[in-house]
């Protein structure tokens, strides 16, 4: 986990642009975004649909290459990397949580969480150990062998969080993590993220279009038409309501 001590810049983006061109049509999804995120921050990115939130997230997540601009991740310039190098960066430095959970079907929670470690060439024994620890962290130690179909939406998203955390990433990137969840489960996942941020100093960047969800972050960035419209500190982040019936995750 990231050190909770001195804040240091983890994400440094300057004048980032992303232009999609489909034949004649040119769409500037990002039009010069500059942004620095320090370790230990919980950043919410909000904005209307189509404003470029996901595009920004994909650029931060090294899933995509920006058209112009520079991007330093944990001090390394990652803006010009090829596909294999970006895969390595994703594996070493980043953890993803998606709206649709994106777990492998018919595969146990444990195996899903182990997956990033497989591509690191870590032995099966250690994979098991670390995956089980990550699942314990999100309160699913008694669900190791359940497949996604045997888990609720909230539980699936926790498995996804465990998978993102198993590699000890610099940043957890969550694109609409509560988009598919009901309000009660949303609170559950948000409280888990707040807990991880507070207790373990995990740096989190979360995209959402729901202001209620966004208010749980400690810093709020509003995106509009491919530009950052506002970037503000949240004086009093809303504490997500911990469900009464917790599933026993770490205090």
């Amino acid at each position: 986990m990231s050190e909770a001590g001195e804040p240091r810049p983890v994400i440094e983006i300057e004048k980032l642009e992303k232009i999609y061109s489909q034949g004649e049509i040119v769409h500037r999804a990002l039009r010069g975004v500059s942004l620095t995120i320090n370790s230990g921050e919980f950043v919410g990115i909000i904005g209307p649909s189509g404003s470029g939130k996901s595009t920004l997230m994909n650029a931060i997540g090294c899933l995509d290459t920006p058209t112009r601009g520079s991007y330093r991740l944990a001090g390394h310039d990652v803006s010009g990397l090829d596909a294999d190098a970006r895969a390595l960066v994703r594996n070493r430095f980043l953890g993803f949580v998606f709206q649709g959970f994106n777990l492998l079907a018919r595969t146990s929670a444990l195996e899903n969480v182990e997956l990033p470690l497989v591509y690191r060439g870590i032995s099966q024994r250690e994979r098991h150990l670390r995956a089980a620890r990550a699942l314990a962290l999100v309160g699913l130690i008694d669900r190791l062998h359940n497949t996604p179909a045997q888990l609720s939406g909230g539980q699936q998203q926790r498995v996804a969080i465990a998978r993102a955390l198993v590699t000890d990433p610099q940043v957890l990137l969550a694109d609409e993590p509560t988009g598919n969840l009901d309000s009660k489960t949303t609170e559950d996942i948000l409280s888990l993220m707040q807990l991880l941020n507070r207790e373990r100093g995990l740096t989190i960047v979360m995209v959402t279009h729901d202001p209620e969800v966004a208010r749980c972050a400690s810093r709020l960035i509003t995106v509009r038409d491919g530009l950052i419209e506002r970037d503000e500190r949240v004086a009093n982040p809303r504490q997500a309501v911990r469900p009464v019936q917790t599933e026993g995750h770490a205090p």
Partner: protein, 408 residues
Amino acid sequence: MMMFWMAVRLALRSLVRNKVRAMLTVLGILMGVASVVASSAIGAGAKERIESQFASLGVNVLMVWPGASATGGARGAAGSASGLTEDDALALSREVPSLSASAPILSASTQVVSGSRNWSTRVYGSTLDYFRVRAWRTSDGGLFTDADVRTSAKVCVIGETVRRELFGDESALGRTMRVGRMPCTVLGVMESKGQSGFGQDQDDLVIVPLSTFRTRVSHRPGREIGFVMASARDPALMSRAEEGITRLLRQRHRLSGTDESDFTVRNMADVIKSFDEQRAAISLLLLVVASISLLVGGIGVMNIMLVSVTERTREIGIRLSIGARSRDILAQFLIEAVVLASVGGVAGLALGIGASLIVGMTTSWTVKVQPETAILAVAVAGGIGVIFGFFPARRAAKMDPITALRHE
């Protein structure tokens, strides 16, 4: 290496999940490999059989059948309209210097009886040259003599099988048995030759003097015979012996330059060669069938892998997002294709061996499963997996993570 076994496990798991689909996919490969294995087993068996036939008849043996070569394979049985006579055979041994012996032969299927036991076998009428040509000795007793041949004596020599069937544990020498309706005395028992390459029991026979056969077994006087069996002095003299036989017989049968011969001379080498050619043709045919099956199987593998790649686009996106490189994805799908094809190959190998063994048990053919073709066939199946799996695997590996993740 670890990734490799992971991929194999993953591939096996997805095969088990889609059992029926996998089975249908690999059917072509299965049939292809099975036919390669079975054809090579049957082919190798036939080769061995022919070689043992070669050894049992002797490399220097020539056969002369009545009739032109188009019908030359038909063995003239006793009494068939024949252009060959006893005198032809005698002339051959006298006047063709490269021949060491030449035996006129008549034969017929018959019933032999001793006391309460009877047995159906084949009886041959010939001269002492018969034993010379076949280089065959008795294991017990002796042969008939020239005098027996001259006087149509009621004597015979029997093969080991006939001895066993008629006399069991008792000695056959000097005993009287009936050949057809003729009673005769057993003079000797031939050394056992066992099965011929064609699955014939070579010890299941009775040999009587030629004149005895004519007057007391077939009751057909005259000079005609079924065929001649002759031996060259040396295997190196075979072609010269063949020429000598042809020249002399054409002259004796008064054939002029352009007339077709009314007899056929064949040596064992020719017989073996023609068998070999047939075998090669059948092998080629099976190889073509196998190649087509394997091609169809390969296309099936490619098709199913393309379907699988499309179905699992999201999985590919997930793997890419958590750090799989494109070569990891390539390897995963390539290994899956190879595993799929190899499963077909192994199943085909089992089917091919099974089919060969069944053929071996239900027919007189010899089958020999060739370990090297078995290994080759499975390797070829794996190779097909690589070749036909490459295109789908590359398609998977080239996917863009974002697009793949968005795939429904």
